[in-house]
């Protein structure tokens, strides 16, 4: 029994230790590189986790030692980037306070959660995993690469300065309004946030004033340290906001304190698209596409048209799953429904790849098929915006992490017994009895 448990772990460790060395060439497919024109018969060569060449078959030389994957009739495009998701059972702030910048999603994610496997099945290779929206500030988010993973460390993105890539989750409007110590009104919500940012400005001033003398530094404050990262533009605010006036409040606060912000959900985004486009603090909007309006007051006017309207107003537009609100497995529905509602096709495809990479400031590494970028790509059975198309293979950094031809992998695309099980949890009921339930996301 022990051996049976240890073997797969050992195997995974072994695989991880031997990074891909021989190049892999994807040939014969229609290639949608996102940056640049579609290529009817394209070749993509990847090596050591990076893309080394992309172009028409006639102009790309396939190395002699390359493994060739012939994909006639298929489509190859970059792995999808999801700018807002809750896969991996993340937890953030608790109910003790409305602003908790010290809390990290890092300390909660289950790297083996079934939701992560379903995201790979949907072609998602990079994802912003966020805590919830029930707080003004619910904690530090994580930008993950969906590599094969045993632990959370296997999923992290290390930035050149050594830090772990991620944003800061904020929210306004109704979700973060609760009983004290949470705010009861919109104006109170903004006041609480301003107060904290002013404290952070003062904290930063104290640090700057010591002019490098470590002995004079103020006591460490994890929350204020994180806020200073926002003030310094080292971390981006990923801000839940729905109603048109709430969106304008986000922009007002961002401009007051100079933090960089991505506007998330933006149900009313089409009403204030010009204002979002005009603000230098707004990197762009991460838009949700939902099958019907409503479900909450703020989403009464949510529309398929939002992505297109904001794009035409000059806002950088990405889409997100908000998984489990929508399902990672059909993330490509979002750009498809946006195109249905008038969005430019190229912009819509970028909105689940390169534009989202920009919203996460990861566009130097992911989001398009371009020499030098991470070898994150998908093999699709047909056009990415057709309902009849399936993701057939998902590759992250030159490794195949999901393959529809493998029945065990396929289960995470179709669903079925075992596809959503994350282990059994015992729940005690008030009579002291218990029920055993499979938990899922």
């Amino acid at each position: 029994m022990l051996v049976k448990i240890a073997a797969p772990a050992l195997l995974a460790a072994t695989l991880a230790a031997f990074a891909q060395t021989n190049p892999v060439a994807f040939t014969g497919a229609r290639v949608i590189p996102i940056e640049g024109e579609e290529i009817a018969n394209g070749t993509v060569v990847v090596e050591n986790g990076k893309i080394v060449a992309v172009g028409p078959a006639a102009s790309v030389t396939v190395p002699a030692n390359a493994q060739r994957i012939v994909l006639k009739g298929k489509v190859v495009m970059p792995g999808l980037v999801d700018s807002h998701s809750h896969i991996g059972q993340p937890e953030g702030a608790d109910s003790s306070a409305p602003i908790q910048p010290d809390v990290r999603v890092l300390d909660s994610v289950n790297a083996r959660a079934s939701s992560i496997k379903r995201a790979r099945a949907g072609g998602i290779t990079t994802v912003n995993v966020m805590p919830g929206s029930g707080h003004l500030m619910s904690g530090q988010t994580l930008y993950l690469k969906l590599r094969e993973a045993r632990t959370i460390d296997d999923l992290l993105i290390k930035l050149p300065n050594g830090s772990i890539a991620g944003g800061m989750k904020m929210a306004n409007g109704t979700n973060s309004r609760r009983n004290p110590p949470f705010p009861g009104t919109r104006a109170k919500s903004a006041a609480l946030v301003r107060e904290q940012f002013i404290k952070a400005q003062e904290y930063r001033a104290k640090i700057r004033a010591v002019a490098g003398d470590q002995t004079k530094l103020p006591p460490r404050d994890l929350g204020l340290e994180a806020l200073v990262e926002l003030l310094d533009g080292k971390r981006v605010v990923q801000h839940h906001t729905h109603r048109h006036d709430d969106i304008l409040t986000v922009i007002r606060l961002a401009e007051e304190f100079g933090f960089k912000v991505v506007l998330h959900h933006v149900s009313d985004g089409w009403m204030v698209a010009r204002e979002a486009a005009a603000s230098k603090c707004v990197i762009g909007a991460s838009v949700i596409v939902i099958d019907s309006p409503g479900g909450k007051l703020e989403a009464r006017d949510v529309a398929f048209e939002t992505g297109g309207e904001m794009d035409r107003a000059g806002v950088l537009v990405g889409f997100h799953t908000d998984d489990g609100v929508t399902d990672s497995r059909w993330f490509l529905r979002s750009p498809a429904l946006a195109v249905r509602a008038g969005m430019d096709r190229r912009k819509a495809l970028a909105a689940v790849t390169l534009s989202n990479a920009k919203l996460l400031e990861l566009d130097g590494r992911v989001g398009s098929l371009k020499a030098g970028k991470d070898a994150d790509l998908l093999v699709l059975s047909g056009d990415p915006l057709s309902v009849y198309t399936h993701v057939e293979q998902t590759w992250v950094e030159g490794k195949k992490v999901w393959d529809r031809a493998n029945p065990q992998d396929r289960l995470f695309a179709t669903g079925g017994p075992g596809a959503a099980q994350d282990g059994a949890l015992m729940h005690l009921d008030e009579c002291g009895g218990h029920t055993l339930e499979g938990s899922s996301n």
């Binding site: 089409w270 939902i290 099958d291 019907s292 309006p293 409503g294 479900g295 909450k296 007051l297 989403a299 009464r300 006017d301 949510v302 529309a303 048209e305 489990g324 609100v325 399902d327 059909w330 529905r333 498809a336 429904l337 195109v339 249905r340 915006l385 057709s386 309902v387 009849y388 198309t389 399936h390 695309a413 179709t414 669903g415 079925g416 017994p417 075992g418 596809a419 959503a420 099980q421 009921d429 008030e430 009579c431 339930e437 499979g438 899922s440 996301n441």
Partner: protein, 400 residues
């Protein structure tokens, strides 16, 4: 931009009127699709359907043109009109939790024809919905069938009482230590109540005039279930609970519809043998709780097993506040059903299973003039709904 569409009124005067619709492809759902088809409607009903050659359009008749024409879509199970768009206490009427079994609650006393979601569904071609009390208690109440005209409940109703909605498994469990707290208790309570209703009906039948038992709305409603007048719509997902539902149906000789049925693939033979149909969970329903094992491929498995089924929009507690059957059928078509089979599951099949196929679900002469017009394959993501006709009248021109 969308407000104009949602606010679309449908109150043109009813009177003698005609309308013709031309389609490059007309899916009648009563035989093979017609290439270059024509549908002629008069006074709310379909008068003629055929090829353009065999069915000339009288000169001067208003004519709409579309790439693809289907029957108006029929949503086999929704709660729209009761579970309002805002999702606030004041507009949520699909579930009343003061008692675990309330079959006397009528859907017509709650249906809001003006709810924006009714118009939302209509704009995608959904013209008939089976809606009413939702899942969430052992017996939540009655359902109804209504056209998505957005007029008022009296005008729009097709059938005032259609089924009685019940839930087993997690959806049937009462909270706060109240009964039913377990699966076995749910069945015990249902059996007890059906036995009471049986005795009540027998007493009423035998009683001399003037000596009938005092009226009991709850037992009267259950009596209609026992008599097969109102089928029992059981929302049930786990295989063990599906078997419990079948056991209950057999014991009391009920007309039963299995709703949700996430684990149906595990008990296909038993379902098939029971003869009961399935209103499947929406294809894109979230896998969680009792429905953790749901699959995109269940529709195709039901089809292969010969079990009658429809693909409904179901109930949503949050966002999206309603699903759209056109989208749910599309995913089923991408996962094992043919496009025609997927269309059947949102047109003629639900019409049959709801007992309203004499009026809706296919394009045949004599049926209601309910049509959906599209500018391409209706199931494709990037196709638009371009027109909706109910009762021979164009009620939506939104390009959606």
């Amino acid at each position: 931009m969308r407000h104009a569409i949602l606010a679309l009124a449908c109150c043109a005067p009813i009177g003698a009127q005609t309308l013709a619709v031309k389609g490059e492809t007309v899916y009648t759902m009563a035989g093979p699709a017609i290439r270059d088809g024509v549908v002629i409607m008069r006074d709310g009903k379909i008068e003629r359907v055929g090829t353009a050659v065999s069915t000339p359009i009288p000169s001067g008749m208003r004519t709409l043109t579309a790439k693809v024409v289907t029957p108006g879509l029929v949503d086999a199970h929704s709660t729209v009109g009761l579970s309002g768009i805002l999702n606030q206490n004041h507009d949520q009427d699909q579930l009343e939790t003061s008692a675990p079994m309330q079959p006397e609650l009528r859907a017509i006393d709650a249906y809001n024809a003006k709810d924006a979601l009714v118009g939302w569904l209509r704009s995608f071609g959904v013209t008939t919905i089976h809606t009413g009390h939702g899942p969430g208690s052992l017996i939540s109440g009655q359902t109804m069938v209504v056209k998505t005209l957005g007029g008022n409940v009296e005008q729009d109703t097709v059938r005032a009482a259609a089924m009685v909605a019940a839930s087993l498994g997690e959806d049937g469990r009462a909270s706060g230590g109240k009964a039913p707290g377990t699966r076995a208790k749910m069945i015990a309570m249902l059996r007890g109540e059906f036995i009471k209703a049986k005795e009540y009906a027998a007493k009423a039948a035998k009683a001399e005039k003037g000596k009938e038992p005092a009226r009991d709305l709850r037992l009267e409603a259950l009596g209609k279930v026992l008599a097969g007048e109102l089928p029992l719509l059981v929302t049930v997902n786990k295989a063990n609970d599906i078997l419990a539902a079948l056991r209950l149906g057999t014991e009391f000789g009920l007309k039963l519809v299995l709703d949700g049925a996430a684990e149906a693939p595990l008990v296909l033979e038993e379902i098939k043998a029971s003869g009961y149909p399935v209103f499947l969970h929406p294809t894109m329903a979230r896998p969680s709780g009792d429905s953790g094992a749901l699959s995109l491929e269940t529709a195709s498995k039901l089809k292969a097993a010969g079990i009658p089924f429809a693909i409904p929009s179901g109930f949503e507690g949050y966002v999206p506040k309603t699903r759209v059957i056109l989208f749910e059928a599309a995913l089923a078509a991408a996962n094992g059903l043919t496009p025609e089979q997927a269309l059947e599951a949102i047109t003629i099949e639900p019409a049959r299973l709801l007992g309203i196929a004499n009026r809706v679900g296919s394009i045949e002469s004599g049926k209601d003039g309910d049509l959906a017009l599209y500018d391409g394959d209706p199931l494709e993501y990037t196709t638009h709904s371009i027109g909706v006709v109910i009762g021979g009248r164009l009620v939506s021109e939104a390009r959606r």
